[in-house]
């Protein structure tokens, strides 16, 4: 099918170089137009923060696109010297290129296995190629199937299960406790930078209010301004805890700020539901003994990281079934492509056989005119059809199952000669 992939990923190229090869904004359609104009081929580009890959295809040609030329194109297009990037580029042809794209779309080649963004990025690459008019028969089939593969891998294996960032895991725990957030109070204790991302995730839940407290009132004001919250004095920490449903603690205090005894006093004053405490400070701010899973659920950095690692480990266990799906899909793609490619030949072959059958049947019925009943004629017609189908089954299957190079042309041409078919 003459498919070629040339690219670089987080596995082969450092970020400093990858940044230079990014096809962002107007660069992407420009590159697609340039590729199709320069090499007369189909083209698609998958460009993400972790990879830049060019897929080139020529449906009818006998000569495959040259990887070296595409590497030169990359260097020229981005105005970077070829030598530093040449060593980090990889190229794959036909079956290997198909397998690679399916692995990429199925997130098996991602930095974090099972991450959900890559399927969308592959889809975007396909849509860009469509918009630029650079996707032809091969790339249409390839990318459409790649998106199906991504869906199959995601739904039929557990590779995308769970979250793998500490802040997402924290929010998952919050959701295990609370269902509704427009009546909830989030309390932020401290102004640690580690908590910024988690606070961002918590804000996306749209809580009723966010309270911020810090030993330094200025810092509390700063954080409160950044999250549309209300700064409260440090002395009111206990009162705030009585009102809080979700607590994010990120102080830099050397000792726990909340002992069990102090917290028991707060619990006694509370009439609200379960309090979720995300203690991502190191050293910890809350005494771990206050966690009971009922009135208070306390998760510290170690808990969240443990879940993160466990999720990644579980995802890795799904790699093998995902690879099996990809192998199936690669085979299916190849068979489908061959069937399409050989479709006209198979149609000719079937038509030729059908003409021969009709001619033989017409001769036979003419000779036996008057000696056959309608039933006999039907039976003979059926028998001839069956014979034809049995004869053609072998050659048609052989074409569909034909192995790639080097015997491809021999088999195809032999059949065309044997049955006097024309390309």
């Amino acid at each position: 099918m003459n498919l070629l992939l040339v690219g670089a990923s987080h596995k082969t190229m450092p970020i400093e170089l990858r940044e230079k090869l990014a096809f962002d904004g107007p660069k992407l359609p420009a590159a697609l137009n340039e590729l199709t104009a320069r090499y007369g081929c189909e083209a698609a580009i998958v460009s993400t923060c972790n990879r830049a890959e060019i897929y080139i295809a020529r449906a009818g040609a006998t000569v495959a696109p040259d990887a070296e030329l595409i590497a030169e194109f990359l260097a020229q297009f981005h105005a970077v010297p070829l030598e530093p990037i040449r060593a980090a580029l990889y190229s794959k042809g036909n079956e290997d290129a198909v397998r690679h794209l399916f692995r990429v779309a199925g997130s098996l080649d991602s930095l974090i296995v099972g991450e959900g963004q890559i399927a969308g990025q592959v889809k975007k690459a396909y849509e860009s190629a469509q918009a630029a008019g650079s996707a032809g028969a091969i790339l249409h089939s390839l990318f459409q199937q790649a998106l199906n593969v991504a869906k199959r891998v995601r739904t039929q294996t557990g590779i995308s299960k769970g979250h793998v960032s500490v802040s997402s895991v924290a929010v998952d725990y919050v959701r295990e406790v609370h269902a509704q957030f427009d009546d909830k109070t989030v309390l932020v204790i401290g102004a640690g930078k580690m908590g910024a991302l988690t606070l961002k995730h918590l804000r996306s839940l749209n809580p009723q209010r966010i309270l911020v407290t810090n030993r330094s009132p200025e810092k509390a004001q700063d954080v409160a301004r950044g999250c549309d919250g209300v700064a409260i004095p440090w002395e009111q920490l206990d009162d705030a805890l009585v009102e809080a449903d979700i607590v994010l603690s990120t102080t830099g205090a050397p000792e726990p700020i909340m002992t069990r005894r102090r917290f028991d006093g707060i619990l006694a004053r509370r009439s609200r539901g379960t309090m979720v405490i995300l203690d991502i400070a190191v050293p910890r701010d809350f005494d771990p003994r206050i966690h009971d899973g009922d009135r208070a659920c306390l998760f510290n950095v170690d808990d969240l990281k443990r879940i993160q690692e466990q999720t990644l480990k579980e995802r890795r266990e799904h790699i093998r079934p995902a690879e099996a799906i990809i192998e199936q899909e690669v085979k299916r793609f190849q068979n489908e492509w061959r069937r399409r490619k050989h479709g006209p030949i198979i149609a000719q072959l079937t038509q030729y056989g059908e003409e021969q059958r009709r001619a033989v049947a017409a001769d036979l019925f003419a000779k036996l005119n008057g000696k056959l009943s309608d039933e006999d004629r039907k039976y003979i017609e059926g028998a001839l059809k069956l014979l034809l189908n049995r004869i053609l089954h072998g050659p048609i299957s052989a074409l569909a199952e034909e192995t790639p190079e080097p015997s491809k042309h021999t088999l195809l041409e032999a059949m065309m000669k044997l049955f006097r078919l024309e390309r």
Binding site: R175, G273, F299
Partner: protein, 271 residues
């Protein structure tokens, strides 16, 4: 057609619910959407057979099964809970309702089978007996749903206590939703129970008090008291979460005793 429906037995719907439960259990270990769909199909088939069975038994069969008998009450309660399972499984498809509701449904059906069948064609003879039976049945539905919510709450709480990974294992509602479900079930059940109890008192007075200390009456009164304590604890002492769940489970245990106890009012007439 009528004879076909008359052939439907308790075993038919109990087996369907059992298969639905087994499929859901299977889905827990090997998640496949088809298992969920099959579980729903079997659950739906069980529900259909259950409805047909009760219609035939209560309206058509020669020896009618009254709602007021322990067997009848248990089968009707099981039916309403099966309807609850079916609708929730459709509306909140992510949650493993079958794992919590169907064992209860099967347990109630099992109790109905074990209990002796009504000895004679007992019928409700008055407005008060009908009101008493229906109100208590609806209250029982509330208590049962509260019980299911409580069990789910304790399972979810245990998962959180052990800090198990979120979104893994048995899919459950959040603690807040489960507590809310429990609270609503109790709030629904309490007035129904009170009204049902008052209807029963009227009925007993009208029939002439035979045995105020029968197990049935005692257990229903006890259930009412537990409910009153439960509401007091919830709204005046602000007891929540695990303790509330345990109280609800205790109330359910008393309900089961009340349900399996023989009825005295069934034989009597009414105003």
């Amino acid at each position: 057609m009528q004879s076909f429906f008359e052939k439907i037995s308790i075993l038919c719907f109990a087996a369907s619910y059992g298969v639905a439960f087994a499929l859901e259990l299977w889905h827990l270990f090997r998640p496949r959407p088809i298992l969920r769909i099959l579980a729903l199909v079997f659950g739906g088939a069980g529900l259909f057979a259950h409805v047909v069975f009760l219609i035939v038994q209560c309206l058509i069969a020669e020896k009618r099964l009254p709602l007021g008998s322990p067997t009848g009450s248990l089968l009707f309660l099981a039916l309403i809970l099966a309807v609850f399972y079916f609708s929730e499984a459709i509306h909140h498809a992510r949650i493993a309702w079958a794992l919590f509701v169907l064992p209860l449904v099967l347990g109630l059906i099992g109790l109905a089978v074990v209990l002796p069948a009504p000895s004679e064609a007992e019928t409700w003879r008055s407005f008060w007996s009908v009101a008493h039976g229906i109100l208590l049945l609806l209250a029982a539905v509330g208590v049962s749903i509260g019980f299911i919510a409580s069990v789910m709450y304790l399972v979810q709480m245990r998962r959180l206590r052990h800090k198990l990974p979120p979104n893994q294992g048995v899919p459950l509602l959040s603690l807040e939703r489960l507590e809310q479900m429990n609270r609503r079930a109790i709030l629904l059940a309490f007035p129904l129970l009170t009204a049902g109890l008052l209807a029963g008192v009227v009925l007993e007075i009208y029939n002439g008090i035979e045995d105020w200390l029968s197990l049935r009456i005692l257990s229903v009164v006890c259930l009412w008291l537990v409910f009153a304590i439960l509401l007091y604890l919830r709204y005046f002492v602000h007891v929540r979460g695990r303790q509330l769940a345990l109280w609800t489970m205790f109330a359910f245990a008393i309900l089961v005793v009340a349900l399996v106890s023989p009825h005295s009012f069934m034989q009597g007439g009414g105003p």
